[in-house]
Symmetry: C2
Subunit: 261 residues, 2 copies
């Protein structure tokens, strides 16, 4: 257990994760972690869409822009919440392709950011950039000369969005169209961490910028979704009227939202 | 309206925001934006705790780790949800202090990040750094030489957490204690953007690293909260059993969660 708390979430996490790895008809890279703050159930999150959303809560991991793949309760009973789960096949159909190029930089855009941040990345011989950008995926016009240099030097730059939920869209505002003209491409609704992992893998296979863009913008393992479920956005943060009453329908203890048992 | 949609959220936002600015007993910097996807109500978010959490939804802005200050409905009726709202005083008690130093870099940590990213920031003569770090606020050990250089050159580095919800805590794991020994200080539960704005203001007033740390770790305008409300963490993402039924208690149309009218 961590030194900052009196009990451990370890046992349920490892029991449920082991059950899924050993017995469940599921062939995806997933994270299995507490769904609530007590030991009542875990959520099964698709690896490409999960993110740590709280620094210390047991239910810190959340599937972004979608519902989790499934739930596994304290009795190791699994309920899938989605239909498109990859099922097990033959070992013969599996291969491992580990060629990567780790020279990828992640840059977090902020208003007032100077282009020297991107120039330094280029100077330091990075081969690709994930730019975490504001709104629909924007950076400021001061960044343009550095973007143009990256384009000239054939360093692919993939835009993802700081809000985490939702898609990039560089066609709505003029700045976005300027960015497209400078060779930037949109990372759809990939999470920053998924886009980074995908870029180091992609650059391990090709340095051709058009090919990199093609791979990066094609869904491979659920990292890009066709659409966003209405329920995939966080709803309810405790501000709705009657939320306490509603929560009591699920559980009389309003601090805890148990599932199943 | 934006070119990507047939209607506009502008009128309700400007009517409600103008009402608050002109008539409501509230003296804080706030953001007033749609609380749901239709024109039924806006939320009043404290400026230091609000973040855009969706790239395109009307209800994109959310108060993090707390509930919003209040709600204003389509009839401009305001209900405050919190007690610690700053009320109006005398103009004579107000002053504006605009001294800032914009030479602050934001760095987003990722596993595999090379220390050259931080060295470049130091080389480019930045005076302070906001480091958006994993978990409770961690970077990897490969970053240590650059952290030590920043310490020697008296460049303050404030750690905030990538998960957005929750506090930094560098006392739980060894890496955190190593970071403290290298002069890093914790940004409590400040949002990255709030920490950045606070750092450029702070460096406009002092370059003394101990003084910078003292100001940065003291709550000034609600950017650091004493504790996190249980309701301040996102609960419910559509995965709980019976959520549809519960939502119908509020509104028969489950796509819309109206407040008030």
């Amino acid at each position: 257990r961590s030194s900052d708390r009196p009990s451990s979430d370890g046992p349920l996490n490892i029991i449920n994760a082991s059950t899924i790895a050993g017995y469940v008809d599921l062939a995806e890279t997933v994270i299995c972690m507490h769904g609530g703050t007590s030991d009542s159930y875990n959520l099964i999150h698709r690896g490409t869409r999960v993110r740590k959303m709280h620094s210390s809560r047991r239910d810190a991991f959340r599937t972004i822009s979608d519902v989790p793949l499934g739930i596994i309760d304290a009795n190791q009973q699994v309920t899938f919440l989605k239909d498109d789960v990859k099922r097990r096949g033959d070992m013969a159909d599996m291969w491992v392709d580990t060629k990567i190029d780790p020279k990828v930089a992640m840059l977090y855009f902020y208003p007032g950011m100077d282009q020297d941040m991107l120039h330094s990345v280029i100077d330091n011989d990075y081969h690709g950039v994930i730019f975490i950008s504001t709104g629909l995926g924007h950076v400021n016009t001061d960044m343009y000369p550095a973007l143009e240099r990256a384009q000239e030097e054939e360093i692919p730059i993939c835009i993802v969005v700081e809000p985490l939920w939702g898609f990039t869209n560089l066609r709505v505002y003029e700045t976005g169209r300027d960015m497209l003209a400078r060779g930037i491409f949109e990372g759809a609704n990939m999470l920053p961490c998924a886009a980074y992992a995908k870029m180091i893998w992609t650059l391990g296979h090709t340095r051709d910028v058009k090919e990199v863009e093609k791979i990066m913008t094609t869904n491979i393992a659920g990292e890009i979704t066709d659409r966003e479920l209405n329920k995939g956005y966080m709803i309810m943060q405790g501000v709705e009227p009657g939320l306490d009453d509603m929560l009591k329908l699920v559980d009389e203890n309003p601090r805890e939202h148990r599932w199943g048992i």
